[in-house]
């Protein structure tokens, strides 16, 4: 057993770190660190910076414009980006549609669409969940009916993350009501400016606008926008769910959150002493660090074992559950570190000269509430437990 990164991996880490030092602006990193809502321009600008170095599409093979990294390199890259407070890469085009097209798309689709993802021409969003189809995704009802060379789509998608910025949406739609529910689903690409589409914002618990509802009424889409075969959509959706699941543990994000929490606990005073010297609170930070240490090692075991980072369903589900619980706990502790000063609405807290929390922590309650999503989206932690149970009990 050798628990060290190889010299090549350490050299890679140094290369990433120095790139981030030279190319990530202090202003943008501060916004990320403070938990401020990033605008479209912030995200697109950061994507372009990474693309200029060829590092934007971390999971894509070299021939399509990716960096050709292995799973360990991707992990190192993610960790360094998180620690530097770089914006998260928006995954819908780069992490989701790209790999789908590379696996299932036609040559024409690949040639047309992939470069536009890389250069930022198209912002993609995801049309999976529906009001009646969440955990039970296969019950989705949005219909695509064939009419000559077009599909006509009617229905509604929901929880569409950053749909307000999107140019395009990839959707799971029902193309058949015969046979098993899973066998009548297709994967279709839709231009969000097509007549008949309406995107409506959903305001979240903490007040932010991050997700949307997308309504389709008689939306005409060329059949050539189908990815893979008609009624093959479920296979594609499952590929997406199992592909590149090792990032799911969020070890980088948690490491950064723990780092910030400790810095905050050194800075804030409680009973005349730094909060980190309060045994009750310090014990909770220490427990969080212990849990994260174990998760880091679990994650590395998976990275090194799994060829190309395609973890088994069970391991991916375990990483998702434990990773989200640890991240949520860290957000909870950051909020609690502030005590009652976490209560003001972040924008109110930062206004005026009587701010109650240091700026890097002013949004901590909002972040805590927003991140309750982690255990709900991408397959709720209950659904992940079903997947593991199926594996353990073989049913």
């Amino acid at each position: 057993m050798d628990l060290n990164f190889t010299p090549e991996e350490e050299a890679f880490r140094a290369e990433v770190r120095s790139f981030l030092k030279d190319n990530l602006s202090e202003e943008l990193a501060t916004k990320v660190r403070n938990g401020e809502e990033l605008g479209k321009a912030d995200i697109e600008g950061w994507h372009a910076t990474l693309q200029s170095r060829g590092w934007l599409a971390a999971t894509w093979p070299v021939e399509y414009g990716g960096p050709g990294w292995n799973a360990v390199q991707r992990h190192i890259f993610d960790e360094e980006c998180c620690m530097a407070n770089a914006p998260r890469i928006v995954p819908f085009g780069l992490g989701m549609l790209g790999p789908v097209l590379i696996k299932f798309g036609t040559e024409k689709q690949k040639a047309e669409i992939l470069p536009r993802i890389l250069d930022g021409t198209d912002w993609w969003c995801q049309g999976y969940s529906e009001p009646g189809a969440g955990s039970d995704l296969a019950s989705l009802k949005t219909r695509a009916v064939r009419d000559g060379d077009d599909y006509i789509i009617n229905g509604q998608k929901t929880w569409t993350t950053l749909g307000q910025y999107a140019d395009k949406i990839f959707c799971l739609v029902r193309t058949s009501t015969e046979g098993k529910r899973q066998e009548g689903i297709s994967f279709v690409l839709v231009d969000i400016k097509t007549p008949g589409i309406e995107v409506r914002p959903i305001k979240l618990i903490e007040g932010g606008h991050e997700v949307n509802e997308v309504f389709f009424s008689d939306v005409r889409v060329p059949v050539s926008n189908l990815v893979g075969e008609e009624n093959q959509g479920w296979t594609i959706a499952k590929f997406l769910l199992t592909h590149e699941r090792t990032g799911i543990a969020g070890v980088g994000a948690s490491t950064q959150a723990l780092h910030e929490l400790k810095a905050l606990a050194r800075k804030l005073k409680r009973r005349g002493k730094p909060l980190i010297e309060d045994p009750l609170f310090a014990a909770r930070i220490a427990e969080a660090e212990i849990d994260l240490e174990a998760l880091r090692m679990t994650n590395l075991r998976v990275l090194v074992d799994a060829s190309g980072g395609a973890a088994s369903n069970t391991i991916a589900s375990m990483l998702k559950i434990k990773g989200t619980v640890i991240r949520q706990n860290l957000h909870d502790l950051t909020r609690r570190a502030l005590g009652p000063a976490a209560a003001p609405f972040p924008m109110d807290a930062l206004a005026g000269n009587l701010a109650v929390a240091p700026p890097e922590a002013a949004a901590s309650a909002a972040s805590y509430f927003n991140n309750r999503k982690l255990s709900i989206f991408g397959g709720s932690n209950e659904i992940q437990r079903n997947i593991i149970a199926k594996d353990i009990f073989g049913a």
Partner: protein, 359 residues
Amino acid sequence: MNFNQTDDRRMISDSLRRYLADQYPVEHRIKIAYDAPFHDPKKWGELAELGILGALVSEDQGGFGGEGFDIAVVFEEFGRTLCPEPMLGNLMGLRLYGAFGQSDKVEAIIAGTARTALAVFEPEAFTDISEITSAAAQSGDAWTVSGRKSLVYGGHAADTLLVAARTPAGKIGLFEVEAPAADIHGYAMIDGGGAAEVGLDNTPAKCLSEDAADAIDAALDAGRLALCAEAVGAMDVLKEMTKDYLMQRQQFGRPIATFQALQHRLVDLSIEIEQARSIVIHAAGALDTPGRALAVAKAKNLIGRAGKLVGEEAVQMHGGIGMTWEYAGSHYAKRLIMVDAQLGDTEDQLRRVMELMAA
């Protein structure tokens, strides 16, 4: 032993529940609780007419209640509809005005014609009043106070502030400041309702007591009891909402309430809520006894843990819907989680229990 409320208290709680359900439903609350002035001033007058404020003060101090159970029934109803009226600050203010014989003020607050708020805590003194650094200075008969007060609940909507400040003799005194004389910066809290940061700079003040530490502690404990009772009301409602959702939401061809994994989680919430209700009864019964501080600290600790569990689990069992602003359940969850941060959180209360046990 008898766990029934007296007829008087049942009347208060019934009429308040009816009033809030009819006139102050949670939908109205969500509309007003996040924008200045973070409450509905018209409704404040109506609540005063119902006698709610009088119920918070004893008869010999000008009210008609004032016991722990009186406070608990009022705030439990507030919790059921997440009422954002600045009742907490006025409760604590009333207790202090009463304790120091300010009967005209007590009368005005009970009548709904004046509001007050308690300005005790500071940016680095959130739980223990012995740590406060705001200072009072005396020149002849005239007093001034200087310092910075944080998290003054209801401070944005008060006519007077009751300020805790250190006297030249080194004691904690209590001073009344007219709101327009202070630099008051009101804001919404993330779970709704308003609070204020207060700047005081040689601000003219009236001295109510030069040695008020014990009275302030007692008023804060009354406030903590109120928060605990409020949380129990909110928990009851959120649990019902969650149960209804589980029974109505269909996935995999059946209501998700039929999944045992979810049933057990709702059962666990129900157990914790009964524990929460019991510890509030215990604290309410001890409010006017020597066991007050320990009983209230136990209650606030347990409520902090139960509130977080109920809030987080309710959101999780609702799924995405529980994450939306539009759904009232998310506001209940926020309130239940943030109530812990007010007047000392679970760790602060645990520390208090440990100290009192060792004493």
